[in-house]
Every structure is written in structure tokens, then in C-alpha cells.
């Protein structure tokens, strides 16, 4: 174990240990719990920053522990892993702040924050996993640690949502397990490598490899909410807003999308995936998901459900970018991992603020709410513009690279999908903005603001910050350590010869 490898454990421990301790903390000891949470989140961010610096300068962090004969528990911090880790850690800090504000005075907060921390630990583990077994371990851990958050409210609806969540994700996990084992029995290794590790098998086991590919994709596709595996996501909306943020932006959906990236690039390799004829169907599936999700979103009146279907649609941009299998499209897909996270978390924070402050859950109730909560709706508007793909917000950058990459790879139809999706995005976001800003409030108006603020600081600042970050990621896309720059750094490693 190299000395630098301890940092990998430390990154995991920075959320795992506070989480475990928080379970044991009495409900009323708010200050201690908050302190621990923030200490963990900040120290994780610092550790991640250190690793970013190191990886950018050519360092490799790797931790290897013997688990099974011939199979190790491997954590490795490469550029791709760090992309997801950074996203998760940064958004965890913000989500934690938000959750502290959101859940103020509500019961069972120790349980909530404990699982919240476990959940982030698992998603960081998913990101850092150096082989498919380690990935699988954290992937399932993520499922298990999210479940208590989904059922947190303890209502019958929450219980059903939890059952449905597990039914989908555990079935996905079983498929992933089957694929992983099958692959292991053929290849004898599960180590992620930059250009995939299954080349040698293609002559003898072509059919098996194709089947395994779809097993693995189905496994991660459940979390990535690929149609038709997306059913759990809208149901899970019964959970509190911070949990939705976590599901959609920080951990779960992202882990699925990230899994697709890992499988296509580092298990199979893009060339092999194209050669096996699996890339195009995956792209098509992603395209279908994009359009289907947008269409369904159009017809939702429940704000969170509309956002959920929007996620179904948006996350598949990542899969699409990956499946197109060209370097530029890859950049578009990967950078959308970050951009979508920033924008979608903003939207959920805002939806949570509306629900928490003025008890608005439906779009039809949103008339004139922009006047009551200008900052919140401002952030919402910015993020919605990003989702539609208007420049200069981050979403534009993703779509631009996706379209460019598709054309470069000779897949012009993708541009049509992108255009159609953008139109649909506009069609389901613009009416919301119209209602919020340009219509008069119905009836008696909204509950008055307390103390001159539209809502609590802890509820207000996180969406504002993430909205600013979405804008920044678009405006400053070309400064060092911006998401785009980092993704190009990754692409240089995945595609030899690209610069």
C-alpha cells in the first residue's frame, strides 16, 4: 500500500465515521450533529481537493486490499473517478446545509443524517472503485443506505415507494452481479482499465460478451433510470426534498450513469463496444429515454414529479454521449454528469423551498410565487434555462458538445433528438416560469415572509449557490479545473491521440 493511498480511505471515512457516530447521537444534540456533519463534509472536500491537485499533476492514488482469492478490493482515484467524487462531495456539503435547514425540528434527524452520510460514502465508493467487484459492493451499499431515506417519512406512500425502489434497484443489482460474475468467470479479472479489459475474449465469447454487456447495462440502467427501468424514480418523490436532491443529483442516478460510463469505457472500451454492435442500441435507448422522459414531464402537475421525469430525460444525455463513442460526444456526456447535477439540485432545492415555505406542491398553485420568493425563483429560472440548453448556462455547453460529437461520429440523428428534447424541455419549464413571474397570485396569496426574508438562510443559500455554479460552469467553461476542462483531461486519457 503506497503512503498516498491512505487518502482514499480517508475520503471514505470522512463521511462514513461521522455517519456512524451520528446514529448514536441523541436526537436533541443538534449542535454536535451539525458540527460533525459539516466537519465531515468540509474535510472530504479538502481531501478531494488535494487529490484533484495530485491527479492533475500525474499522481495516481490506489488502494488495494485482498478480498477474495484473485480479487482485490480496489480504490483508485483517476480523473474520471474524481469528476464524480468532486461533484458528490461538493453537493453533499450544500445538501447537508440545506437538509439541516429543511428538517429543522422534525423527528428522527439522527437517523436521517446517518444514512445521508452512508449514502455519500457509498457514492464516493462507487466513483473510486477500481474494479467491477468493488463497484458492485458500493453500488449495492448505495441502494441499501438510500432506502431508509426514501421511506423516511414513514407514511404508507413512503413505504410503497421504498418497496418499489428496492424492487427495481435490487433486481438491477442482481443482474449486475450476474454479469460481473459471468465476466469474471471468462476473463479472470475485473480490473477497470482505460481501454477495457475484455479484448482478449472477443474471438471466443462474442455472444457471451454481448449478453454480459446488456446484463451490466440493465444493472446500472435501473439507477440511471433508463426507460423502461425508470419506474421507481417518480414514486420516490414522496421523500423529503434533500433526499430527492440526493437521489437525482448527488448519488443514486449519478451512480447509475457513472456505471454506464465505466462499463462502456473501462470494461469494454469504446471501440469494442462499437465492434460488438452494442453502442448504437444503447444510444438509441438513451435517445428514447430522453424523449420519453420529456414527454411524460409535460403532463405532470406535481412539481417534483415533473422534475423527476425531467431527470429521467436529462440523465440519459450522459448515456447518449457515452454511447455515441466519439471523443467530443464523450466530453458532452461526461460534462453533463456535472452540469445536470448542479442544475437539477438547484431545481429540487427550489421545489423544496416552495413546499416548505409556502406549501406549494403543484405547478397549478405557483401563480405569482416569483414575487413572494424572488431569490428562489431566480435560481429556479436560471437552472431551468440551463436545462433547456440556453447559453450561457452550463446545460448549453453539454448539449453543444453532444451535438458536435454526434456529427463528428456521423450520427446526425442525435442532433434531431437533442433539438426535440430541448423543445420539450422548454415546453415543460417555460410555463412554470410564466406562472411564477407573470401571473397574479390566486386567492389570499401566500403565507407572509417572516423577518423580511423569503425563507431561512439555510434553505435559500444552497440553491442560490448551485445556480451560480451552473452559470459559472457555463461562463467559465475554459478555466483550469472547470468541469469542461477536467472532462477534456479525461478524454485525453480515454482516447489516445485526442487533444
Amino acid at each position: 500500500m503506497s503512503p498516498g493511498s491512505w487518502i482514499l480511505l480517508a475520503v471514505l471515512a470522512s463521511s462514513l465515521l461521522p455517519g456512524l457516530v451520528i446514529f448514536a447521537i441523541a436526537e436533541r444534540r443538534v449542535a454536535l450533529r451539525t458540527g460533525l456533519n459539516l466537519l465531515g463534509a468540509v474535510s472530504k472536500l479538502l481531501l478531494v481537493g488535494w487529490m484533484l491537485w495530485g491527479v492533475a499533476h500525474g499522481h495516481a492514488f490506489e488502494l488495494r486490499l485482498a478480498l477474495l482469492p484473485g480479487l482485490d478490493f480496489v480504490l483508485r482515484a483517476g480523473p474520471l473517478a474524481l469528476l464524480f467524487v468532486t461533484l458528490s462531495s461538493a453537493l453533499w456539503l450544500l445538501t447537508t446545509l440545506y437538509a439541516i435547514g429543511y428538517l429543522e425540528g422534525s423527528p428522527h434527524r439522527s437517523r436521517f443524517f446517518g444514512f445521508f452520510s452512508l449514502c455519500v460514502t457509498a457514492s464516493v465508493g462507487v466513483a473510486l472503485a477500481g474494479n467491477l467487484l468493488t463497484f458492485l459492493l458500493f453500488y449495492e451499499l448505495l441502494t441499501l443506505s438510500t432506502y431508509p431515506l426514501v421511506v423516511h417519512r414513514g407514511t404508507e406512500a413512503a413505504r410503497r415507494a421504498g418497496q418499489s425502489y428496492l424492487a427495481y434497484t435490487l433486481t438491477g443489482g442482481a443482474l449486475l452481479l450476474a454479469g460481473t460474475l459471468w465476466l469474471y468467470s471468462l476473463a479472470g479479472t475485473l480490473e477497470f482499465t482505460a481501454t477495457g479489459f475484455v479484448h482478449g475474449l472477443v474471438d471466443d465469447h462474442r455472444g457471451a460478451l454481448i449478453l454480459i454487456f446488456w446484463l451490466l447495462i440493465a444493472g446500472v440502467g435501473v439507477k440511471a433510470a433508463l426507460v423502461p427501468l425508470h419506474g421507481w424514480l417518480p414514486q420516490a418523490m414522496v421523500a423529503p426534498a434533500p433526499v430527492s436532491a440526493l437521489l437525482h443529483a448527488v448519488a443514486v442516478v449519478k451512480a447509475g450513469a457513472f456505471g454506464i460510463v465505466r462499463i462502456v469505457y473501462e470494461v469494454y472500451g469504446v471501440e469494442l463496444a462499437a465492434d460488438l454492435g452494442v453502442a448504437l442500441p444503447l444510444a438509441a435507448l438513451a435517445a428514447i429515454t430522453i424523449l420519453y422522459g420529456s414527454l411524460r414531464a409535460l403532463y405532470q402537475d406535481d412539481l417534483k414529479r415533473r422534475l423527476a421525469f425531467s431527470t429521467v430525460s436529462q440523465v440519459s444525455y450522459i448515456a447518449l454521449g457515452v454511447a455515441i463513442a466519439g471523443p467530443i460526444a464523450t466530453i458532452g456526456g461526461l460534462v453533463h454528469l456535472v452540469h445536470q447535477g448542479l442544475m437539477k439540485i438547484t431545481l429540487f432545492f427550489c421545489a423544496g423551498n416552495l413546499a416548505e415555505t409556502v406549501h406549494i406542491h403543484r405547478i397549478s398553485e405557483m401563480d405569482g410565487v416569483g414575487r413572494r420568493m424572488p431569490w428562489t425563483m431566480g435560481a429556479f429560472t436560471l437552472a431551468a434555462f440551463g436545462m433547456i440548453g440556453l447559453p450561457p448556462v452550463a446545460g448549453f455547453v453539454s448539449k453543444w458538445y453532444l451535438g458536435l460529437g454526434a456529427m463528428q461520429a456521423g450520427q446526425d440523428w442525435v442532433v434531431l433528438v437533442l433539438a426535440g428534447s430541448s423543445l420539450l424541455n422548454a415546453a415543460y419549464f417555460l410555463p412554470i416560469l410564466h406562472r411564477a413571474w407573470f401571473r397574479a397570485p390566486a386567492g389570499n396569496g401566500f403565507a407572509p415572509a417572516v423577518g423580511g426574508r423569503e425563507t431561512g438562510w439555510l434553505l435559500l443559500w444552497p440553491p442560490v449557490i448551485t445556480a451560480a455554479m451552473s452559470l459559472g460552469a457555463g461562463l467559465l467553461a475554459f478555466i483550469p479545473f472547470s468541469p469542461l476542462e477536467w472532462v477534456q483531461f479525461i478524454a485525453r486519457q480515454e482516447f489516445i491521440g485526442y487533444d
Binding site: 482469492p69 404508507e156 435490487l170 460474475l181
Partner: protein, 494 residues
């Protein structure tokens, strides 16, 4: 191991004598039964450590009881395989003993301790015996102790379950004994190693295999012989249910494994493969049927009991897996031993947790579990963690066991086994989370809650955490299992 630390004691003999003597002493002087019970159970763990170091040194320890040696006398044998089962016994036993100390009221406890020590002594004796008839006696001692413990609470369901269990266990032992009779007269010995040398394929060996296999399968509650298990295991007092599910069914399975690995599978011309195939099919049926039934149960303890039926099925999946040479596949057996350990710890934890729920709410109806997640957090954690291990989800011992078994099945191209295991895992997750989901929801009517002593919550959680830790330590533990199933017995036959 260094003789300085541990003197060279007859660990096997002590492991058997200590609990049995404790039982007799507890029967003689009931007021001291509790102290004797706790001390001897804990002492067993120390003795096991001694035995472990000795086995690590010598691989196989033999102890000729009475100094005669086989075939005239009885021999005790301790090797890695027996150690696996003894370890499960000692760990679960200690946990359950601590739990039972709080569970039973004072007057009841006096009756409990001698019976428990009888069970412990019988289990230890069984895992250490190398003599077929001696195994019969230990089986009976164990069976009667288990029946007595099942009926201990005296309720109608418990009595009925115990009666059914008694008849099943007696039938199983007698059928086993009939097989022993055939083997004895075919070979003139009862000792395992001598039998390995002398037994030849033929109608007697085949019939003996069938009889012993059937008798032990009945005692192990392999589908379709499982009919007695759910009523007995669900109606017994919680600590007893834990012992029954975690240890007692494993004891007859242990004998079956010994017989299979050392006697019958290596016997060429016995069509061992056919028998293995049948056992494998029954195992698969057990997984699907048991899981499905568990999913349908309205009460926690019944659900957990049916889960045992299903989990026993996994243990039988190794029988059809053979190496290229037609011998038992060590990789598969290693996985099964792992599952034995994982299941023992997790299932004990689940039953203890179920006992806490039962005490807390006065019932264990699943839809009426009233917000226990916040009132009994440790119990809920224990149940959930153990359940995750039972369902074979990472990062638990159950996952590692399932991974190893899946790997072995895949390498042999047994997709049927793989599919059943995956499906069984999903069903298991289904029934575990069916319960866990209700931990968070409030029930329709309020119940008068009864406090649960901390020791009862912590023992359940400790066992569950052990099941979890098992998932983190495979690299450390696997060599032991390799020693237990490795090339040893199968290839020792000339």
C-alpha cells in the same frame, strides 16, 4: 502454536465434558444454574480457541476415547471442518446465552440452563465425533434437548411444533441408524477413516447412502422434509428459535457433508453424481419454495423460519457440483461452509431481533409493527443487517458466500443454480424488506409497549455485526475453509 501460551490439553474432550457437566450440575443445584450456564458457555469459547490453535498446528487431531482407538473404540476428531461448525456454535451460543439470561424470568431460567447446556454439549460432541453410532447418540441427545427447548414456553403452538419436531427428529435418527447398521455389517467398523478405506460400492453402500441421506435431510429440514421446521422454529422462545435455526439444523447437515465428502462421493461406481443431482434439485426447490412462503407470512417469526427453509436450500447446491474428476468441488464446499457461518450468525440475530419485537409489542404481526424503527433502533438495525446478509447483499458475510457459490456454479456452467440463487436472493430481499418497511410506519392501533432489556438488543446487534464483519474478512478466513474442504479427504483415497 506456542506451547507457552496454551498448554497441550485434550481440548476436544474438554469441549464436550464442560457443558455436559454444567448441565448435570445445573440440574442438581438449580439456584446455581444461571452462573454455571453463562460460565460454561463462555468457557467453551476459550476451549475452542485452544482447539483452534492445536488444529492449526496439526490439521487433524484425533483423540481415542478410552484409549482403544478405532475400530474397537470411539475416536474424536477435530479438523478445520469441525472447527467451522464449532466456531459457529460457540459464537451463536454465547450470544444466545447472554440474550436468554435477560429473556427468561428467573423461575423459568432455572429450567432453561441445563437444557441449553445439554444442547451445547451435544452439538460439540457431534461436531467432534468420528464414529457413526456415536453420532447417532449425539443426534438424539441434541434432538431431545432441542425438542425440550422448543416446548419450553408451553404455549399451544409451541407444544404442537415441538411434538411434530420430536416425531420428525426421531424418525430421522432411526432411519440414519438403519443406514449405520448396514454400513457396520458391510465393513465391520463405525469409524469414518476406516470406513473410507473399507467401504465398497454395492447395494449395501447405496442403500445406506439413501437411508442416511434421507434421515439427515429430514433432520436438516431439506425441502420437502421441511414441514416440521416452520411450526417448531416460529413457536419456540426467541433464543431457542435462534439456536434451532442457526445451529441445530446445521448439525445434521454437518454429518451429511462428512458422509458425502469422505465416504460416498469418492466411492466410484456409486452413481454419487446422481444423488448429488437430486440433492441439488431439492436445494433449489427449497430456495424457491421457502422464500416464496416467507414472503407470504404475516408474522415475523414465521417469516424468519421459512427463510431458514430457503437458506438450507443453498447449502445443498454444492452437492451436484463436481470437479472434472467427478469428485466434490472444493470451491463449492468452501462457499457452503462460508454460508453456514454467515447464516448461523445472521439467522440467530434475526430471531433474537424478532424476539425483541415480540416482547416490545406483544405480537409479531408484520403490518402492525408500530414505528419500531425509532423505539427499538438497535433491534431494527440488527434485523436489517442480518437480513441483508441473508439476502446475500454486500458488504456482508452472506454476500461473500453467495459470490463464492455463484462463482463455483458458473465455472461449471450450472446456469440453473445461478438463476435460482439470484432469484432466491431477490426473494430474500423481498421478505426482509417487507418487514423492514413496516419498521418505519405507524400502525393503526397503539399497543402497550413493554421495555426490552438492553442486553437483548445488543446481543442481537452484535451477532448481526459479526455477520457483517464476516463479509469484510474473507481473505483472512478463506484459508481455513480451504483446509476444511481442500483436496484432503477426497484425494486421500487410493
Amino acid at each position: 502454536m506456542s506451547p507457552v501460551l496454551l498448554p497441550d490439553l485434550p481440548w476436544e474432550a474438554l469441549l464436550i465434558l464442560l457443558p455436559l457437566t454444567g448441565a448435570a450440575a445445573g440440574a442438581l443445584w438449580p439456584p446455581a444454574a444461571r452462573a454455571i450456564g453463562l460460565l460454561t458457555t463462555a468457557g467453551g469459547l476459550l476451549l475452542l480457541a485452544g482447539l483452534g490453535t492445536a488444529v492449526a498446528d496439526a490439521q487433524t487431531l484425533r483423540h481415542a476415547v478410552g484409549g482403544w482407538g478405532a475400530p474397537l473404540g470411539i475416536e474424536l476428531r477435530a479438523d478445520a471442518l469441525s472447527l467451522v461448525f464449532l466456531t459457529a456454535t460457540a459464537l451463536v451460543g454465547l450470544g444466545v446465552a447472554v440474550y436468554a439470561d435477560s429473556y427468561f424470568e428467573r423461575s423459568q431460567a432455572r429450567g432453561f440452563w441445563p437444557l441449553w447446556l445439554f444442547l451445547l454439549g451435544a452439538l460439540n460432541a457431534l461436531f467432534l465425533s468420528a464414529d457413526l453410532f456415536n453420532l447417532y447418540v449425539t443426534l438424539e441427545l441434541m434432538g431431545l434437548a432441542a425438542v425440550a427447548l422448543t416446548a419450553f414456553s408451553g404455549g399451544r403452538a409451541a407444544l404442537s411444533g415441538a411434538m411434530r419436531y420430536l416425531l420428525a427428529t426421531l424418525l430421522g435418527s432411526l432411519v440414519y441408524l438403519l443406514g449405520v447398521a448396514l454400513l457396520y455389517h458391510a465393513t465391520g467398523t463405525l469409524d469414518f477413516s476406516l470406513l473410507t478405506q473399507r467401504l465398497e460400492a454395492g447395494p449395501a453402500a447405496r442403500t445406506a447412502l439413501g437411508l442416511m441421506g434421507a434421515g439427515l435431510a429430514l433432520k436438516t429440514a431439506l425441502f420437502p422434509f421441511h414441514f416440521w421446521l416452520p411450526p417448531a422454529h416460529s413457536s419456540a422462545p426467541a433464543p431457542v428459535s435462534a439456536l434451532l435455526s442457526a445451529l441445530v439444523v446445521k448439525a445434521s447437515f454437518y454429518i451429511l457433508v462428512r458422509l458425502w465428502l469422505e465416504l460416498f462421493a469418492p466411492l466410484s461406481g456409486l452413481e454419487g453424481a446422481g444423488t448429488g443431482e437430486v440433492l441439488g434439485w431439492l436445494g433449489m426447490a427449497a430456495i424457491l419454495w421457502g422464500s416464496w412462503q416467507a414472503l407470504r407470512q404475516p408474522r415475523v417469526k414465521l417469516l424468519v423460519a421459512y427463510s431458514t427453509v430457503a437458506q438450507i436450500g443453498y447449502l445443498f447446491l454444492a452437492f451436484p457440483l463436481l470437479t472434472a474428476a467427478g469428485l466434490p468441488d472444493p470451491a463449492a464446499w468452501r462457499a457452503v461452509l462460508w454460508l453456514v457461518l454467515a447464516h448461523a450468525l445472521a439467522k440467530a440475530a434475526m430471531f433474537l431481533a424478532a424476539g425483541n419485537l415480540l416482547r416490545f409489542g406483544g405480537h409479531d404481526r408484520i403490518p402492525d409493527l408500530d414505528c419500531v424503527a425509532q423505539r427499538l433502533p438497535l433491534t431494527v438495525a440488527a434485523f436489517a443487517l442480518a437480513g441483508i446478509s441473508i439476502a446475500g447483499l454486500p458488504p456482508t458475510g452472506g454476500f461473500i458466500g453467495k459470490w463464492l457459490l455463484l462463482e463455483a456454479a458458473l465455472l461449471q456452467g450450472r446456469w440453473d443454480l445461478v438463476a435460482v440463487m439470484l432469484l432466491g436472493g431477490l426473494l430474500a430481499a423481498g421478505y426482509v424488506f417487507k418487514v423492514v418497511g413496516h419498521f418505519f410506519t405507524p400502525a393503526a392501533a397503539g399497543h402497550a409497549a413493554r421495555p426490552v432489556p438492553a442486553a437483548m438488543e445488543w446481543t442481537a446487534l452484535t451477532l448481526a455485526i459479526l455477520a457483517l464483519l464476516l463479509g469484510l474478512a474473507p481473505a483472512w478466513l478463506l484459508p481455513w475453509l480451504d483446509l476444511a474442504v481442500g483436496p484432503g479427504p477426497a484425494e486421500a483415497v487410493p
